[in-house]
Structure formats: C-alpha cells, structure tokens
Amino acid sequence: MTLTQKLINDGNATVDEMLTGVMAAHGDLLQRPSPRAIVARHGPRPGKVALVIGGGSGHEPTFLGFVGRGLADAAAVGNVFASPPPQPCVDAAMAADGGAGVLFMYGNYAGDVMNFDMATELLEMEGIEARTVLTTDDIASAPEVAMRRGVAGNVFIFKAAGAAADLMLPLDEVERVARHANARTYTMGVALSACSLPQTRRPNFDLPGGEMEIGMGIHGEPGVRRGPLQSANEVADEIMDALLAEMQAPTGAKVAVLVNSLGSTPLMELYIVFARVAERLAGAGLQVHRALVGPYCTSMEMAGASITLMHLDDELTGLLDHPCHCAMFRQG
C-alpha cells in the first residue's frame, strides 16, 4: 500500500517547520515566545483578559490561524492530533497575560483537559488565574453535551469570547460569554476519506470508495453512521435535520452558519452544500446573519465537510460582528 502523498520533509518535524513558515509569513502579526506558543502582536494589553486557545496540530487554520487582535491572544500548539503539553500552554498564557486573568478555550478531549489543567496548576504558582471553557459543539459525538467534542464551531465560539475580551470585559463576563456561545453552537460533519498522520503517511482509518461516515470526528474518531455516499443535498438534509432538532430555534431567529471543509473537499462542493443549507434555513424561518464557507477547521487532507449553526441573540450577534485581524481570519 502506497504512502499518502505529502509535501513534507521529516514526518516528525512537520509542526515545528510549519511554525517556522507561519512566523516567516506572519511575523507582522504574530510572535513565538517559545517553540510551541504563538502570541498576537497587537492583541494582548494591560487590563485585558487573555484568551488562550490551543490543541493538536493538523486542523489549520484552527488554532493558530485565529490568533490576532479581536480574537485569541495566543495559542498553544500540540503535535499532530495531540494536545500540547502544559509548558506551551503556560508560555502562551504568560506571554498574553494582561493582569486580568486568562481564559483557556479548547475542544473537549481527554488529553487537552489533562494538559491544560496541569498548565492551570502551574500558572497558579505564578499567581495567574486561569479558567477554562471547553467547546462541545459536535452534536454527533455524544448524547450528553458535556461529553461532546469541540470541532469547527470553535470558530464562532472563540470569536465571540475573543470579541468580549477585546471589549475589555472582565474575566467573569468573558467566561460567561464563552459558555453562552458554546451552548448555542451546533456542528455535525461527514467524512468522505481518511487523512494520514505525517509520521506514518497511512490513512488513519479506512473508508472504502463509495462510502461516507456521518458524524466522524476531526481526528478520524468514528462517527454515528456509515453508509453509501449520498448526494450533497441528502447529506446536508441529514445534518440539518439533526442540527435544527438540537438547536430548537424559534422562527425568525438569527443564525451564523459555517460550511467547513475537512481538507480536500473544494469550495465548489462547499457552496453546493451551502445552497441547500440556506434553503433549509429559509424553510425553517431562520435568518442567516453571517455565513462562512471554506476550510476553517480541517483534518489535513481528509475529504468531507461539516455544518455549524450558531443560534444568535443580540449579544452574540454583536460579538460576531466585532472586527478581528488574524493571520488566517480577517473580519471588519
């Protein structure tokens, strides 16, 4: 069996070489205080809550692409699909700290929780208060919300919390906003192919041609249903049915929508999916206030897509509309 075609040097060095490239390309916006910590040049400032995000690599532009004024102040960067260890989380937090406390936000995965919790203990010793809000937007990943994974919805959830922090709200408020944003964000995805870790260059699961897996996680964690590949409209309908049932939004409500590529699914297909999503939302009497279409939370070269809905209220609408200037995400 042939190895996945990747344009890399050393499979064990991909993350560090990527970061070298990121700094070479975006040194005007980003700093790298320690090897696996990326900090916004123009975000952190005295009196401001530091929003620190992070997680495994391989999801670019998530996480480091969302570091910048108006969004996250810093990101801790793990190996591919692996939580960062505590040290980079501490380094990112200390570099971003403005004396108003630190909010860690990341997807709800066992490894991330253990590492960021250790970082929180270490920060305590430095006299820095760090709190945590886990994202749990993947409705396919578990029945109970608390067990769910955080996936593409991170974009909206981090954006809302980042705007609150940029508006100089205190830690209690930024934390409240973050939990509120997470509670109103719903994502479900479909995988059409596997991706491969750069160290092994072998598909991390096998999905025979002609099949798809609904609800697959962004690390290839098995999903809820495997079956023959269906049309874009059928897939969008299955996902929208689930999202709308979870969201329970009254007609007239406003939503933000993200149709996200897991990697190799091109914009053409995402817009075909978006066309159906827009139809379904109109049918449900919901208004699209903001639409993102593109690769925002990927699994390297995995084929597939996810749909995220954020159920907006006036507060979240204002926060999503707030400008941000990140290396890989620009608004306002």
């Binding site: 190996n79 591919v80 692996a82 260890p85 590492n115 994974r149 870790l197």
Partner: protein
C-alpha cells in the same frame, strides 16, 4: 541484588526501542477507536524519556524518573503525556534519591506508576483505558506475585479491554461500537510492564542488559 541507575537507563533504552518497534501497530489499534496516533505518542515519549535519562551525569534513580517524566510530557502532550509523566514522577518518589534499590522493592514502582495514572486520569478499572492493564499489574505486585505473573496480569488486563465499552477518552463517544477492539493505551501499557518486569528480573539474576 540491586536495580541500579545503569539498569534503569538500559530499561528506558529498551522501552524506547520497543515503542518504536510497535509504533505502527499501536497507531492502527488507535485508528479503530481513536485518532490513530497512540503509537507515535508512545514512541516519541519513550524516545524523549530515554534521551533525557541518557543526558544525566551520575543521577539518582529519582533524577532519572523525573527527567524521563519531563522528557516524555514535553515531547508528547496528548493523553499519554500527563498520564505517564505522573506515573514516572510517582515511581521516582518510590525509588528515591539513591543510585540503586533492592530488586525486591521494584514491584513498588509498578504500584506507584499505576497510582499516578489513576490520580491523573481518574479512570476506574473497566472503563477501557490503560488502567485496565496497570491496575491488575499493581494488584499482582501488591500480592507479591512474580515478575512474570505481574506481566501476565497486565497482558490479561490489556486483552480484556476488547470486551469493554469505553467510557473515557476519545473512544468513549463510541459506546458499544468500541466493543471488540482492545484499548491501545492498555496494550502499550502491557508492553511497558513486560519490559519493566523483564529488566527487574534480569537485574535480580545480576544479568547484564
């Protein structure tokens, strides 16, 4: 007979070699119920641990365990990082600031590591995690079993995870669909315990590694 810093350094070298050899197999196991990277984490972690230990100049056993813990954690992160870092720190406390420990006390290291993993991960036996290999091994150690019996207990525990439904870690979301697949962390744990007990046994017979 004593288990010396030389024996421990050799053990970390053996663990690094073993995890490198098993990397792709462990990734494949993780691929079935997780994210396919467990082999990479264990290989990178033990490689870093071994290197950190090798870099020390006349260390105590505790120095070695502490360096290994730090090296493993910083190289890996993930779930395995904090779990094994905590385990190794606990082992270091038991081994103490000395150049050697009686071979008869080495089973305490297995018990300490198991406690560290449970402390960090809050998992119980039966939740389809590495604890299902570490706990029975620790239990056997507590009961004064032979090195071979301790390793056998870990192996049996690891194999038993195929019959378990995961409730922690990435596989937890799978529920019943995790049935039939052994837990990768439990399988790697049994390998680690096998290497450790073999090293203890060799040191008992004074045999060189």
């Amino acid at each position: 007979m004593a288990f010396t810093t030389q024996h421990l350094a050799d053990l970390f070298a053996a663990l690094a070699a073993r995890m490198a050899a098993e990397r792709d197999m462990l990734c494949a196991l993780d691929g079935a119920i997780g994210d396919a990277d467990h082999g990479i984490a264990m290989q990178q972690g033990m490689h870093a641990a071994q290197a950190a230990v090798a870099a020390l100049t006349d260390p105590t056993l505790q120095d070695q365990f502490n360096a290994a813990a730090k090296g493993f954690l910083n190289a890996v992160g993930a779930s395995s990082g904090p779990l094994y870092a905590t385990a190794l720190l606990r082992a270091g406390k038991v081994a103490g600031a000395q150049a050697a420990m009686p071979v008869g006390e080495t089973p305490l290291l297995i018990m300490a590591m198991a406690e560290g993993i449970v402390h960090r991960g809050k998992a119980e036996v039966g939740q389809k995690t590495m604890v299902d290999a570490w706990a029975p091994a620790a239990q056997a150690a507590r009961e004064g079993a032979s090195f071979a019996e301790i390793a056998a207990a870990a192996e049996a525990g690891a194999q038993s995870t195929a019959q378990l439904v995961a409730t922690l870690g990435r596989a937890a979301r799978l529920g019943a669909r995790s049935l039939g697949h052994p837990d990768p962390g439990a399988i790697s744990a049994a390998m680690i315990i096998a290497e450790m007990t073999a090293a203890f046994a060799r040191s008992a017979t004074g045999g060189q590694t």
